[in-house]
Symmetry: C2
Subunit: 202 residues, 2 copies
């Protein structure tokens, strides 16, 4: 009934500045991993960016892979799952809005594009994160397309599951092209174009 929230074995909690410190590390790591990838970015790069020693950094995140997972989960929490909140908003509008928003946040698109593909490689600590993320996203969009199908608003012949995977694929792929040629590629336009093909108006 006291104010202590934790287990009896724990000696003491972290200091006051600790939370901010962790956050600034994660922010710096976000930049480094987005610009250089997980394998290409070093703990020293991150430590330099924060302005602390590499050893101190390892006090907060005991290994490089722990830091990576912290970055990925933090970004997922901040950006949200990337899903429509307002139930009144149409799927098209929600997707387009999110796409436009991501464009304005420096590094997000780089981070996901670079780390997602890198996670395919041998023994990459991010593989589970991205595998589960894709499964979750496919389920989520499958639900959305199925609901539309029930209202008869899906174009005949369109399979909801296939449309879900395709929408995610299109989104990822167009981001890659946009990163290489931002002026030649209209991300939001491509997504809207696809959804307007799949979803009937009204």
């Amino acid at each position: 009934m006291t104010t202590t929230p934790a287990a009896p074995t724990s000696k003491r909690g972290p200091y006051a500045k600790s939370k901010q410190r962790r956050e600034s590390i994660v922010t710096a790591a976000h930049e480094v991993f987005a610009a250089r990838g997980y394998r290409g970015g070093s703990l020293q790069d991150v430590a330099d960016k924060v302005g602390m020693s590499q050893t101190s950094l390892l006090h907060y995140f005991p290994s490089k892979s722990d830091l990576l997972l912290a970055v990925l989960n933090w970004r997922d929490t901040v950006t949200g799952g990337g899903h429509p909140r307002d139930p009144e908003e149409s799927l098209v509008d929600a997707v387009v809005r999110q796409a436009r928003f991501n464009e304005t946040v420096p590094g997000v698109i780089e981070l996901y594009a670079v780390l997602c593909a890198e996670s395919i490689t041998d023994n990459h600590p991010g593989l589970d994160f991205f595998t589960e993320r894709y499964e979750r996203l496919r389920r989520s969009y499958l639900r959305a397309f199925s609901a539309l199908a029930d209202e008869g608003r899906l174009r005949p012949g369109v399979d909801p599951a296939r449309a879900a995977a395709s929408l995610i694929a299109l989104w990822d792929g167009i981001q890659t092209q946009w990163l290489m040629a931002p002026d030649s590629v209209d991300m939001a336009g491509c997504l809207r174009g696809y959804l307007e093909l799949v979803i009937l108006p009204e």
Copy 2:
């Protein structure tokens, strides 16, 4: 008029086995870069796989980036630009056939997915290759869709340029999902599904 093909300044040409040697190096590097990425894979990994010293490897490819470009260009030459050869074959069939074919060649999809995204990162020697590749592909599919549009076979409202970028994006994105969950993702089906939405029958 003699059999000597080269310039007068050149002292001598490479030995007979040289060509095969280079090819076996490129093949090994293909596997290594596909499995570990450019930054994650080492020249030692490649040399071990070929069964030669790392020093000898550097005799054929004077730097790691030279080796990467050799791998990329070699793969592009072997697989072809990824384009319809037979003018009688429809765009849909050509795309689906190429997608099915790629599925059967070990490492190709990994290689492109991993290296393409990695090339976004700082000072990556593959960036120009992929940038130019995307420009070339977009032009190529733009031509194909424009030809269909001229025949009135494009669904009204579909922009050929946007469809070209979208097709490439979808293709790339679905490959990434397939790499993570081969049994849950039907690459050829998604591509066919998209093209049948965009292209009118007959």
